[in-house]
Symmetry: C2
Subunit: 135 residues, 2 copies
DNA sequence: TGGGTCACTTGCATTACGCAATCTATTTTG
DNA sequence: CAAAATAGATTGCGTAATGCAAGTGACCCA
């Protein structure tokens, strides 16, 4: 399995954040509340780019910011991310309300379509609210 | 997400091995060809038990062996493991033949049912052959 | 032009990991 | 029944990864 890439605590979390929370910049990842250190974040972003999962370009309008986005290879992780989320929500009491989760579990394809649509449209609107923290 | 549990290189690999390759004992995990060290394996098995994903009992017939099995919580990881496998197979050239993978991708539910059936029946027959190594 | 922001980088202490050897309990062999 | 073998796991030790705080250079804004 792809655990050379995801075999660590942060990489999949970054992918999820850009995928469903619409995060795009270093600061957003850094302040996402999971507590990743800045050097580790930089290293993971570099690794994800090297793996062809993220792409990066300077933000139009603010030359300091770098805008990270999922590649096709990256967005193709959506089903895996969704399944891990659903499992997590099923067994970790602090996550999203179970009614919401149940509904999500019954409409997997619909959710994936929406995630893919937002990716294609470059729409950073979060797919999910943050429910405390659904980590 | 459940990356306190899976945020490392080995835990998900162990779950996959017991889920689809039918591995049950310390030696089988150790010799699975991924190269995990014995101290790390012991620690991961302990952690997975503590997380309620694996259960362990002495093997009937040979009191030295310990037979690890997935709990309900563990087998519920099957969809996530499958999606990660499919993604991996899609993007890593060394994995299983693409015809096999394509067929799997089109019959997800069927495969999951088979995995669950073998779990319920305590049938250790591998679901997949090993294709070199589909890691 | 000065202060703030942004994406990192650096230095250093702590922790995790990989490897080989070792230990205990149990089983098999002679 | 004693000796060798096997299974699961632990220990010691060197290396790599991680966390934390501080710093750097490019860029933006008043």
């Amino acid at each position: 399995m792809a655990l050379e890439i995801f075999g660590d605590r942060w990489s999949l979390l970054i992918v999820r954040d850009v995928m469903v929370r619409g995060y795009r910049t270093f600061q957003e990842f850094l302040q996402s509340g999971e507590g990743i250190a800045s050097n580790i974040l930089a290293e993971r972003l570099r690794r994800l780019r090297a793996a062809g999962i993220l792409s990066a370009e300077r933000a139009a309008g603010d030359g300091r910011k770098i805008c990270y986005q999922l590649t096709q290879k990256g967005i193709d992780l959506a089903p895996a991310v969704l399944e891990i989320f659903l499992w997590s929500a099923m067994y970790e009491p602090t996550a999203a309300p179970s009614a919401v989760v149940d509904r999500m579990a019954q409409h997997r394809e619909q959710i994936l379509q929406e995630v893919r649509r937002r990716w294609a449209a470059n729409d950073p609107t979060p797919v999910l609210p943050r429910f405390g923290d659904a980590r």
